[in-house]
């Protein structure tokens, strides 16, 4: 029947490939992705690439400004704090806590949220409405406040902060996933898939998830930026990470007294926090735009 091979394999762009091509054309989002990847590498490898130890004190070099300043020292590129600790090393290690733990918190939230959200999405009647309305109540409380309440019960500490953030982010996540699944379930192709003889598991794994995982990634980025802000806010309020842990919020709080004397010890963690949240939001926004554009065509 087919005499000619008219269609080459390469032109069969899968939805994922189309997604990436559209995402690439959005330059701010792409830059955001690079920064995001840089933070991820930093979070994973900071102890190996940091020039000094986190709590290594240099008694000959207290409060040295960054190296581009005329009083600066090239040994300490971003200067030192009042105990003679290298700011660069501390900030690099801070990525592990602020960024890395946020990613882990957001990932755990995603796993639990997808599981519970799926269950809420496919269940009907009393169970479904129970889950929904229970979650609606918690949705009315801001996540940071919820995290503070949970910290008040668990007690301060970095790991408690992570659990608090996971618990605070979960309701919103479950809600979003549930809504996605319910919209997807009502579509024609799911009915058609059911008529093909697909079981509930097939409907979820082959019918729904291939079509909503991009949405889940978008929700993940939103959860991540909230987690970064919450973890550092709790660190700043001395409810989360305790000094000398190098969590950025904790560094900020620790050096707040030095703001006039050594502004770099306060400004630089702030800049990093800003960049971390900005890059996450840029990536999330880029993903959202691609999703919207894909819906339009």
């Amino acid at each position: 029947m087919a005499k000619f091979n008219l269609f080459s394999e390469e032109s069969n762009k899968s939805p994922l490939a189309r997604f990436w091509r559209k995402f690439k054309s959005n330059h701010p989002a792409l830059v955001g992705l690079w920064i995001f990847i840089a933070f991820a590498i930093l979070a994973a490898a900071a102890p190996l690439i940091a020039p000094y130890g986190v709590n290594q004190q240099h008694s000959d070099a207290l409060l040295i400004p960054p190296s581009w300043h005329e009083m600066g020292d090239v040994r300490f590129i971003l200067g030192t704090d009042d105990l003679g600790r290298d700011v660069l090393s501390r900030l690099m290690n801070g990525a592990t806590y602020t960024f890395g733990l946020s990613v882990i918190a957001a990932l755990i939230t995603t796993i639990i949220g997808v599981l519970v959200g799926t269950f809420a999405g496919i269940s009907r009647g009393l169970r479904s409405s129970f889950l929904n309305h229970l979650l609606d109540i918690t949705l009315s409380i801001p996540s940071l406040l919820l995290a503070i309440i949970i910290i008040a019960i668990l007690g301060p500490g970095l790991m408690n902060t992570v659990w608090a953030i996971i618990l605070a982010l979960l309701p919103q996540f479950i809600h979003s996933v549930r809504n996605l699944i319910v919209t997807e379930l009502s579509k024609d192709y799911i009915t058609a898939f059911k008529l093909d003889g697909a079981s509930n598991w097939h409907i979820l794994s082959r019918g729904i998830f291939p079509n909503i995982y991009e949405h889940i990634v978008v929700i993940f980025t939103m959860a991540l930026s909230t987690a970064i802000l919450d973890i550092s806010a709790l660190g700043f309020l001395k409810l989360g990470a305790q000094p000398p842990t190098t969590e950025w919020g904790a560094i900020l709080a620790e050096n707040l007294g030095l703001i006039y004397l050594a502004p770099w010890t306060v400004g630089l963690p702030g800049v990093l926090l800003f960049l971390a949240v900005l890059s996450t939001n840029l990536v999330g926004d880029g993903l959202r735009q691609v999703l919207k554009a894909r819906k339009a065509d």
């Binding site: 029947m1 087919a2 899968s14 939805p15 058609a192 093909d196």
Partner: protein, 253 residues
């Protein structure tokens, strides 16, 4: 002789919320009965809201009836809302073929899933079956690597047809499946359907607004009005001599 498809006293009602706690029963289909022979086409026409699409869903198994039976080749496949889940002899083609295809799977994967869930064929014979079915509906073998968004409307209709035919059904339900196509593509698809009917003895249940199409391909006609059959008989007889007012109105416009 036993007809291929026999529908007996099929009824369906929905519960509508009338007030805070009270519910109102709304009868969508009342006492629907008809028969369909092998190789024949039955058309169902009626106004919007007359229960045509609900009937299509009931026949295909996407929804279950309250009372009544559906018999296929003398065996009961639905009795009072309990459907034989293994039965794939009645297949449906949806109104919007793009919406009825999973955007995340290629056509080949989708057809492969169909076969995997319902047959014991091994991998090479599934691939062969997919190839044969795609050729049957006038698509190329290479199309199985395509995603639904890469097809045009007419091609999507063919894909939907391939999906219906791959399980070798006896009856295909077309729920407004041809309405969204432009005239030339519709003519093509209709010719394809008629050719398949000649070759394999397929039966169609055609649900449409399109009267000239009904006249062209259907052997029997059911006129629905508010969930009831107001007229049922040979298409030619009804077109020449419509008895009820509803039919006269439908045919005159």
């Amino acid at each position: 002789m036993q007809p291929l498809l026999k529908v007996q006293a099929l009824s369906k009602s929905f519960n509508l919320r009338a007030g805070l706690f009270s519910r109102r029963k709304f009868d969508v289909l009342k006492n629907i009965s008809f028969c369909l022979e092998q190789g024949e086409t039955l058309a169902i026409i009626g106004e919007t809201g007359s229960g045509k699409s609900t009937l299509a869903k009931l026949l295909a198994g996407a929804d279950s009836a309250d009372t009544g039976q559906i018999l296929l080749d003398g065996t009961i496949i639905e009795d009072k809302g309990i459907r034989d889940q293994q039965c794939r002899h009645i297949r449906m083609i949806f109104q919007d073929s793009e919406a009825s295809l999973n955007p995340g799977l290629t056509i080949g994967e989708m057809l492969n899933d169909c076969l995997q869930y319902n047959t014991n064929l091994d991998k090479p014979s599934r691939a062969e079956k997919i190839r044969a079915t795609l050729n049957k509906v006038g698509l190329l073998n290479d199309h199985q690597h395509y995603y639904p968004h890469m097809f045009s409307g007419g091609q999507l209709q063919r894909v939907a047809l391939a999906r219906a035919l791959i399980l070798d059904p006896k009856v295909v339900v077309l729920d407004e499946a041809l309405s969204s196509l432009d005239p030339s593509v519709r003519a093509q698809t209709v010719n394809l359907l008629l050719k398949l009917q000649q070759d394999t003895g397929l039966s169609y249940i055609l649900i449409t607004h399109h009267l000239s199409l009904v006249r062209h391909i259907s052997d029997q006609l059911v006129v629905l009005d508010h969930g009831e059959i107001v007229e049922y008989g040979k298409t030619r007889d009804i077109f020449q001599n419509p008895k009820s007012k509803v039919t006269q109105k439908l045919l005159s416009c």
